[in-house]
Point group: C2
Chain length 254, copies 2
């Protein structure tokens, strides 16, 4: 039984990380990356290379509360022991929040049904937690931002919000929720969708902020989407305010 499970099952991990000191998720030579740190520890534990697949890459400086990865274990280690051992071995800025078994066909990227991100903006200079927010002087017109955000809900070609897309890549995404909330001194942007293109959330936030400042009308969001051209949208917001909050799979859909 133990052998069978070790051969045919995969393990899914949910990770939290502080992106501040990482060059993003994806492993790269001579760079500190989350995937690099994780795979190094897994190789120590399992005594053999253990490649992992993530729900998606996060850019340098982007944080995660619920990044999901899968891998095929090369020997049997209980989930509790695995989580405990990894948390002891991983540096303080990465943690395994949960571990479970998934089937041999599970794929953290292809099987993800919904991805939830949030972005945090602060209008006051606050040293505590400054690595987790974009500090911006001057208030924003939240009504304008909310109107423009609503336009993004639904299925659209998001080429205008995509950095460095490949020529033939599919850039149609379904956005399920896209809204803003004030929480104390912070302004939080929540967005969920079936998939996100490279730097898409940050480009959206940057563009919405320009609308909140009155530099563009909220209704121009229609034209920006229609242009299918990165130049038509605004600057990308800085990485440090962005969190990959949660990735939802078939078995977790309501």
């Amino acid at each position: 039984m133990r052998l069978v499970r070790a051969v045919i099952m995969q393990i899914r991990l949910t990770l939290e990380y502080d992106g501040t000191d990482f060059k993003g998720w994806q492993i790269q030579p001579d760079q500190r990356t989350v995937q690099g740190e994780l795979q190094a520890r897994l190789e120590q534990l399992y005594g053999a290379p253990v490649p992992v697949t993530a729900s998606g890459r996060t850019d340098a400086g982007v944080h995660a509360l619920g990044q999901v990865v899968n891998f095929t274990p090369t020997r049997d280690i209980s989930l509790d022991r695995l989580q405990h051992a990894l948390n002891g071995m991983l540096p303080p800025d990465v943690a395994v929040k949960s571990a479970d078994y998934v089937g041999p066909d599970f794929h953290a990227r292809f099987d993800a049904q919904r991805r939830h991100y949030f972005y945090c903006i602060r209008h006051n200079k606050q040293p505590i937690g400054r690595h987790y927010a974009w500090y911006m002087r001057g208030e924003l017109d939240l009504n304008a931002i909310k109107r423009a955000s609503k336009i993004l809900i639904g299925q659209h070609d998001f080429t205008s919000f995509c950095v460095a897309a490949k020529e033939r890549e599919n850039r149609v995404c379904q956005v399920y929720t896209c809204d803003w909330q004030r929480q104390g001194d912070e302004l939080l942007f929540y967005i969920s969708g079936n998939r996100f293109l490279r730097a898409m959330v940050r480009s959206i936030v940057g563009t919405l902020v320009e609308m909140g400042r009155g530099a563009r009308p909220a209704e121009s969001m229609h034209d920006i989407l229609g242009a299918r051209n990165r130049q038509s949208a605004g600057e990308s917001a800085p990485a440090q305010g962005l969190f990959l909050e949660r990735v939802i799979y078939d078995d977790e859909l309501p």
Copy 2:
């Protein structure tokens, strides 16, 4: 009028800082300290050295949400401009939360009526915000901790919780509140008193944690206080979980 105010009034600033990268509050040669950063910027602004007095020192790594300082301005700069200019000049880990005028006799340390601290403990490895909490494996007996905490309320000689006290120093402090709260995944310790000795809150937290782990009975808190000897208490908790939350003056007492 402007001249009169400049001569006889002082300015009080309330500061927030992230203690992670500071060698504490107090200015020291060749060390990055909060007082050092602040006085350097004040000297730039006023064109002359501007010594400041704080409500108290915070140790290396300790954070503040409401440290209070006073100084005598050498020329007239409006409070709004002062706060705005300082926040632009100070590094991201120090901020001026408010500025107001106080009388010529105001003294941030001697006039402080109450000081409020809190300390944050986490039982789960959480990368986000890890510089603002003590991460500790294993649960604590919160009932025991609360019983022991109650013993500290009132007027006591806190020599047992004081690091490096001078021989004749007065070590009697009045503790007004001393309690614990669970908040999500965090365990928060709130303590307020008229004054605190060097490393007192951290020694108290470290000792209470030993009681929560069952290493000492809660009721031994009486004996620890009575011993008036630092050796009788537990280890100091790490600095990173401690926040100077607020300092209250006569004009703010209810």
